[in-house]
């Protein structure tokens, strides 16, 4: 199978039926993507496939043949600096234990790509597939909205 991961061409072997989540974490060392439930409920395993946010626990690696996959490791800027969104997450206290953060960042990233005119309700709806147990979501929403300026 061949696909692009965070801009790099990847070629991987083995069964195409394996979960993309496992291929990322076990074969490619991209452990930023987390397993919280394995059933598409928590969003901790969120990745981008061709710019759309999906749960990688529900995607067979064969399905990303020829596609662009982006994980949290691909969010930082070219020179390794943190993106505006990543900085906002730190500044606003949007990350506490951090386990939901990779998935949350990717879902928020897509929201911001789609529109810079977001309301708090838009952000809540866009992040509804990413469970957080630490923050109560308040500061996550603040962080995302701060990037719409």
């Amino acid at each position: 199978m061949r696909f692009t991961l965070n801009g790099r061409e990847i070629s991987c072997e083995g069964s195409g039926a394996r979960r993309l989540l496992d291929v990322l974490r076990e074969d490619l060392g991209a452990t930023g993507t987390k397993e919280g439930c394995g059933e598409g409920e928590c969003g901790a395993c969120s990745v981008l496939i061709d710019g759309q946010v999906v749960d990688s626990c529900l995607v067979a690696v064969g399905q990303v043949e020829g596609r662009d996959v982006v994980t949290v490791e691909g969010l930082a800027l070219q020179d390794g600096k943190l993106s505006q969104l990543q900085q906002a997450f730190i500044e606003y206290g949007a990350a506490q234990c951090g386990i939901c953060t990779p998935g949350m960042l990717l879902a928020a990233h897509v929201l911001l790509e789609q529109s810079r005119r977001l309301t708090a309700d838009d952000v809540r709806e866009g992040l509804a597939g990413n469970l957080c147990r630490c923050t109560g979501y308040t500061k996550i929403i603040d962080a995302v909205l701060s990037c719409t300026k």
């Binding site: 439930c37 206290g93 506490q96 234990c97 951090g98 708090a120 109560g136 979501y137 996550i140």
Partner: protein, 703 residues
């Protein structure tokens, strides 16, 4: 050059960059060459006698390591308070709950593990299980607190009696339980795991595997949430992993998937709380007679301490001359319950707060006015006879919350009704009574030759900000920049036992030690050269008196206070309750890091909202029906209310800069406020949580 202090400033989280780039390494992220996978095989029967374990000879068992109770070198006991819970069910022993661990497997890949577990036959002779709290006959522990004498027969009195029920709740840390065990030289075993209390695990390992202090090594990995769920449970995961690693002679990864975590790990103690409150017609509180029954599940775990906290908080944030609190915890054949943020207080405060509402209703008074009349103030005495002689923020937080109420939002639906409710709660910071004294929590502090300073503590970062605020406190005391302060890893071979990361004690008790140690090192550096190292242990002030036998005296060093106002929208067509707004004013003593303090409050409030509304666990045959994330539901961003936090700083003389513990307090206020809000919207009174649409609709219909 004097650098300005960062105390009270929301500096970037110490490990924030790692968390937002995916670089932070949680237990299952770690690559351990040669590690096998482990699996726990559990009872499907809620009560019985283990008769036999048969491994199917048709399966090639050479590929698999099997561990049973016979393989335990030390005591087959999960080290905690009582020695009642086995590590693995012994042959002929009694199985007391569904999901009880019976044996362990390890293999090179998960496929082999799955296959192997299908080739095991376990014979359990069933015994009659007890599920309902009301039918329980075995009592773990009882406790009684008395002050004055319960009075109900004076002239001009009203007596209000009510019974409340609170349900199970799962901590639902987004990272499931997991530990990796690595055998090392000289019989040592290293555990790397997702945990809150390295030294709890250390003690459990020593006991079950017969290891010395040096042979047992426990390292906390970056941990994706705990909330108490990783206080004592990780001891089981770690000991299991260690037994497998020891027998396999190689590292073993024991990582739970979400289904196992939901089905088998500890939950909040459910319970029934009954109040009989006697008041004069003018609202004067005369006596409170309270009975608490908590369901501990099959084994004792931390139940006596949970019951203790429940009892101490049971009379609420109020001053009453005559109080009797009788509390007991019983055993049922359900999975053992354990630590969860609040630890008994949310349960008893739920009842206490709603009693204020019911008494106010009986008297035709406003419940806010009644709270003003009753609330504990400076100089008042609690139910255990503790005189509150400082930092009592009860009226401060009530006034602050009332001033900040949101304007009611337009309703979403024609069939919806708006309601508003309020609660006033308090929560003891630190361990109960002589707890801190017994713990003797200790930290190490070093001045290194290169001009940096290192904090050595077993207090863990689990998202609440331990690492950040400890560095702030040290840097401030030393007068250096934050970048000069580092922390040693939370590794028992490197750091002393600072006590567990629980009980709202980390900032107030351990943070204070960090502050004192840093100040002492600064002094010594005036006369000596680095490297320097010292240790600081908790020292109980003479002014704290606690009588453990009679449960009287200074239950906690100090209390934190919160007033919470919630707005709800109840859809009369479906009974659905939406919490739309939540305002909470919290007396935290001092906010060392305002954003992190708010973060704790906001997160805790939403957990309480979930407990009060949608986090329902239905039992069937002694097991949880809600054992997947599709059926155990916590609030999403779309469910969460707008939450606004008002930090009130009312300093405590012994906290660092006046800081009090607030980790658990946010769990106490929202649930009763939501029930009061539902009443405000619909006229119905619910006596139990979660306030599901089924209950709301039925109550509205019968009105």
């Amino acid at each position: 050059m004097v650098l300005s202090s960062t105390i009270g400033r929301s500096v970037p989280r110490r490990e924030g960059a790692a968390k937002v780039t995916g670089a932070a390494r949680y237990t299952d992220d770690l690559v351990i060459p040669g590690a096998w996978y482990g699996k726990t095989v559990r009872s499907t029967v809620p009560r019985g006698r283990l008769r036999s374990i048969t491994l199917d000879p048709a399966f090639d068992w050479s590929r698999v390591v099997v561990v049973t109770a016979d393989d335990i070198p030390g005591d087959n006991v999960v080290q905690l308070i009582r020695d009642d819970q086995p590590v693995l069910a012994p042959n002929g022993g009694e199985i007391r709950h569904k999901e009880e661990p019976i044996l362990l497997l390890a293999a090179a890949d998960r496929g082999t593990l799955e296959e192997a577990s299908g080739h095991i036959r376990i014979e359990i002779e069933p015994l009659r299980p007890v599920y309902a709290l009301e039918e329980a006959t075995e009592v773990f522990t009882t406790l009684e607190i008395t002050k004055g004498k319960v009075v109900e027969d004076l002239e001009d009195m009203e007596v209000v009696e009510r019974t409340f029920r609170v349900g199970l709740q799962e901590q639902l840390y987004i990272e499931p339980q997991g530990a990796i065990a690595i055998p090392e030289a000289n019989g040592a075993i290293r555990i790397i795991g997702s945990l809150q209390c390295p030294y709890y695990v250390h003690r459990a390992l020593k006991r079950a595997l017969k290891l010395s202090d040096q042979q047992a090594i426990v390292v906390q990995a970056e941990t994706g949430g705990g909330f108490g769920g990783k206080e004592e449970y990780p001891s089981i995961v770690a000991v299991h992993a260690a037994l497998l690693a020891r027998k396999a002679g190689r590292p073993v990864r024991l990582i739970y998937d979400r289904h196992e975590d939901l089905a088998a790990t500890t939950k909040r103690h459910p319970g029934v709380i009954t109040h009989r409150t006697a008041v004069k017609k003018d609202g004067t509180l005369v006596s409170q007679d309270i009975e608490i029954v908590l369901d501990g599940g099959a084994y004792c775990t931390l139940t006596p301490v949970v019951l203790s906290r429940a009892a101490i908080h049971a009379a609420g944030a109020y001053s009453c001359p005559n109080v009797r609190i009788r509390a007991r915890a019983v055993a049922t054949n359900t999975p053992p319950n354990g630590a969860f943020r609040g630890f008994g207080a949310p349960q008893s405060l739920f009842a206490a707060e709603l009693m204020v509402e019911h008494v106010a209703e009986r008297l035709g008074m406003s419940s806010v006015d009644l709270r003003r009349k009753w609330m504990l103030r400076l100089g008042d005495t609690t139910a255990t006879g503790q005189v509150l002689n400082e930092s009592v923020g009860s009226e401060l937080v009530l006034d602050a919350a009332l001033k900040a109420v949101p304007t009611a939002q337009p309703l979403n639906r024609r069939t919806a009704r708006h309601g508003r409710g309020l609660s006033l709660v308090f929560h003891g910071s630190g361990f109960t009574g002589s707890g801190e004294k017994k713990l003797q929590g200790t930290i190490g502090f070093e001045a290194l030759a290169d001009g940096t300073f290192r904090i050595l503590t077993a207090s863990t970062e689990i998202g609440q900000g331990t690492k950040t605020i400890f560095c702030q406190l040290a840097a401030d005391a030393l007068g250096v920049g934050l970048d000069k302060v580092i922390l040693a890893p939370q590794d028992t071979s490197l750091v002393p036992d600072s006590g567990p990361t629980v009980a709202s004690r980390t900032a107030m008790i351990v943070g204070r030690l960090v502050q004192e140690a840093a100040a002492e090192v600064k002094e010594r550096l005036k006369r000596e050269k680095a490297p320097l190292r010292l240790e600081k242990s908790y020292f109980q002030p003479d002014s704290i008196h606690w009588d453990e036998t009679n449960y009287r005296g200074d239950a906690y060093p100090v209390y934190a206070w919160a007033c919470t106002i919630t707005d709800v929208e109840v859809d009369m067509t479906t009974g659905e309750v939406r919490v739309t707004d939540l305002v909470t004013a919290v007396d935290c003593g001092k906010a060392l890091h305002p954003v992190m303090a708010e973060g704790q409050i906001e997160g805790g409030c939403l957990q309480a909202v979930g407990w009060a509304t949608i986090e329902e666990i239905k039992m069937k045959d002694g097991g949880y029906q809600n054992d997947r994330l599709a059926t155990y539901l916590i609030p999403t961003a779309l469910d969460a209310p707008r939450i606004r936090t008002i930090l009130v700083e009312n300093p405590y003389s012994r906290g660092p800069f006046g800081a009090k513990g607030i980790g658990e307090l946010p769990m106490d206020g929202p649930a009763p406020a939501i029930i009061a809000a539902i009443h405000d919207a619909t006229g119905i009174w619910l006596d139990e949580i979660p306030a599901t649409p089924e209950k709301v609709l039925a109550a509205c219909a019968s009105r």
